[in-house]
Symmetry: D2
Subunit: 177 residues, 4 copies
Amino acid sequence: MKEKIYIISGTNREAAVSLQVAHIYQDVFERKGVESEIIDLQNLPDDFIAAALYSNAGTHEGMKDMRKKMKEGKKFLFVVPEYNGSFPGVLKAFIDGLIFPDSFTGKKAALVGLSSGIQGGVLAMSHLTDILNYCGTHVLARKVKLAGIGKNMQNGEITNDLYNQLIDWQVDEFLDF
Amino acid sequence: MKEKIYIISGTNREAAVSLQVAHIYQDVFERKGVESEIIDLQNLPDDFIAAALYSNAGTHEGMKDMRKKMKEGKKFLFVVPEYNGSFPGVLKAFIDGLIFPDSFTGKKAALVGLSSGIQGGVLAMSHLTDILNYCGTHVLARKVKLAGIGKNMQNGEITNDLYNQLIDWQVDEFLDF
Amino acid sequence: MKEKIYIISGTNREAAVSLQVAHIYQDVFERKGVESEIIDLQNLPDDFIAAALYSNAGTHEGMKDMRKKMKEGKKFLFVVPEYNGSFPGVLKAFIDGLIFPDSFTGKKAALVGLSSGIQGGVLAMSHLTDILNYCGTHVLARKVKLAGIGKNMQNGEITNDLYNQLIDWQVDEFLDF
Amino acid sequence: MKEKIYIISGTNREAAVSLQVAHIYQDVFERKGVESEIIDLQNLPDDFIAAALYSNAGTHEGMKDMRKKMKEGKKFLFVVPEYNGSFPGVLKAFIDGLIFPDSFTGKKAALVGLSSGIQGGVLAMSHLTDILNYCGTHVLARKVKLAGIGKNMQNGEITNDLYNQLIDWQVDEFLDF
């Protein structure tokens, strides 16, 4: 049986498209008979940066569940919206608050980038690859770039056939990775 | 007269070495007759990620002063500790919460990286350069890498002569940039 | 009077679009009353990698002129086609064969990326920025991304108004940089 | 039985340390019972950039053997010396001249960086990871950084115990990747 996949919706912005894309991936995993679960950064505690980082890492009740899942999971799909030419600061802060090295060493990740503009999160995913590799997590070569996401989604579904094809290929490759 | 420099101490970690390095730069600027002011990310509000980003950007009283300075300043020196192979998530979140594009377009930045290990924040500064350039801020070519910072500081001073020389060169170049 | 600009056409591929784009920039510089000259990597000697690098750097007659210009020039516009997700290897090899540090320290560069696909050379320009900064050259924040270049050029002219606008803005900013 | 590993010595510089490091890895592979073969970029034809790239890719007799191996191999260990803050231009030019996509899709790579300075090829390996991932090759998370290589080698052997340990770990992980 295939490993359960954890899908990280990489922003705490309300009503984020990232969460919709996370659900789209969850549907694809389900269609292929693989269990997945979404870790939604909207659930980060309000006082996250003060009470759940550095010497406080691990003490915040509101982080216990997410940290446990990131420690136990083996495969992670990161949905990465592009904010100011890279990933959301909150996504990196989330990583900074996890359990080291158990959340990362020898694990596997796949990345999907979203942008309203034409870049599709290329640099965001390059930066995140550097970080994940540094932490010991292997990154799937194929990174899906969903540029112009606003024009390519409707009612929570991706309307661009190429994008759906790329997602399908990536999921297949990730399950074999 | 030279422009006032804003020095961003790039982490909210308590008792951070970054803040000490920020003070060292402030002393160098002062010695050269240039005014500077430290913006310390330890002063970010506890509920920063919930109440000062996205649709809430600009509404939080505790951010008004920092946002105003980042908007009005022309030259920024970023002190960037290396966390997990890049900059602290909190530093990028701080950037995500600023006023666009007025905080960035046509401005100038210099970067200094700190690490306890041997990397000296090389990737952190590469990533931050991508972000600042994307936002419209020019970055000084010389980036100072303070690797092994723990062994090279004592009582708030840098004890490594080469490091002090590099800082001095960088400051001179930044004042002319 | 404004400094003369050297425009590097960043590939030795025959009939490269990069050379056409170099000429377009030259026209823009001329219209603004600024002298420029194209350094075309198609002129690299055939035996460049064997006879003009490392211990042979500086000995090849066919490189004398290009090396002299890169040493004496102060401002460089790099036209960077995207090959395999980054810049052409030949462009980096050209850099590896220049005079250090005189070709780089304290100089200024602007970058324009070309791609047939949607990426517009984003990663190519990020990598090149790292290299130029490492060598001591400041890079203009605004990097022009000419994605889908095949569909946006005709008879040596760019037919996309936005692209022409971006080039114009970049040139103005570069002249003031 | 384990796949044969191809070790790319990433420069055509004569008497390069990279080739020595390639041999060190070959010894480690042999000790672990795994066949490997070195592809030495010193063997690139002198007229490589003129006669073996773009429309000439595949026609040069002197490249036939190397291109065939890169097409047939499944696992590649890249030895990457740091030149001007990144990999050698010649290494990227070599990649630009390979068979696409058959040399890359679904394959696996491990990277080791060398530098005389303190950086250990960090940016070189970050850039190369971007390129390999773009081309469809998965990159092992652990990248070995051999900084200050001049002081840490003698008679073709690495004298730094930590470096030898890191190489050993990397090889074990790569064989299981």
